[in-house]
Symmetry: C2
Subunit: 168 residues, 2 copies
DNA sequence: GGATATATGATATAATATAACACTATGAAA
DNA sequence: TTTCATAGTGTTATATTATATCATATATCC
């Protein structure tokens, strides 16, 4: 896919439900393998499976929905099973938590530590992950002016994506 | 308080625990009265009391903490009692919900419809509410480039405030 | 006053997340 | 090789946050 200046900082753009999502999942797992290997983290079968399920869901997914899917192959999975995997994946930048949805999405660029902004479509529930320098810098500048040192930024924008605007 | 260029867009700055917070509460309630009167909303005793409790808490407060305080004067208050009041206050811009804390704070500028960014200190739990044009515009610009129409922006930045940096 | 909408009371339950303790496997230290 | 330490998972229980539902009261409008 050719990049235009407008999507240069778009990590995970909005994409149609028609694209080859299976490939997205495969690529994401491969990237996670690489990350974990590099950092000496143990990417266990459980963690891998949870990450696959998150990517497979094609959008933010809640912990309990995840649990239900997980139970297809692990009959006795319990909430901690899922939450521990989620904690691991978040700590290591493989997924993000969308606070306003109590849900989780795969990170489109796990190998790079980055700020993130999410555009969340309230109609189709799809999420675009951005890493917009301008936004990040504006936040940093203002925080600095107030003597505030940033630990973590969460930018969540709820609205309607282009596809839904056209479709509805 | 004299305004410098740096706090021009700061709606509710970080403030020491020593300031006259009673006055903040009184002012906030007065502003809410004005807003509601202007918009023909019924600012009932319950809603007023919940707003007072939120402002009195001097920082983000959770629904169940609020419920407990509310029970001092309303023995049989239940979760819906609080959540309904919170819904009213949010819908009408009198408070904001901090997603990453599951908590609520009074809005420092209820009479004006505005975007909001929050700097949340993880040490003292204080919150600064900003309405930084640059941040808002950067978000808007990028959303526009993707054909995304914004409904609501939540910017939450977790870190350490200047006071805590000096104190710890 | 009666109809309608709005607000609150009251009970139950849903949805999200964590605590605590037990068990296993792996690998390092002695 | 035994012992110890650690990381990962299993299992049960419970905490925390939020909503559904139906009943009752209060205000408003005609």
């Amino acid at each position: 896919m050719k990049k235009s200046s407008d999507d240069r900082q778009v990590i995970a753009p909005f994409h149609s439900h028609a694209h080859d999502h299976g490939q997205c999942v495969v690529d994401a797992i491969a990237a996670a393998e690489t990350c974990c290997a590099k950092d000496g983290l143990s990417f266990t079968p459980l963690r891998r499976q949870v990450l696959e399920l998150i990517w497979s869901s094609h959008g933010p997914i809640g912990a309990y929905d995840l649990l239900e899917k997980l139970r297809a192959s692990r009959r006795n999975a319990a909430p901690p099973t899922v939450y521990r995997a989620l904690d691991f994946l978040m700590e290591n930048g493989l997924i993000h938590r969308i606070e306003s949805l109590n849900a989780y999405v795969g990170c489109g660029d796990p190998e790079r530590h980055h700020g993130a902004q999410f555009l969340i479509c309230r109609d189709c529930q799809c999420v675009a992950e951005l890493d917009d320098d301008e936004i990040g810098k504006a936040v940093t500048r203002r925080a600095k002016a107030l003597g505030f040192s940033i630990h973590q930024q969460t930018v969540e924008v709820v609205g309607q994506c282009a596809d839904c605007a056209a479709r509805l």
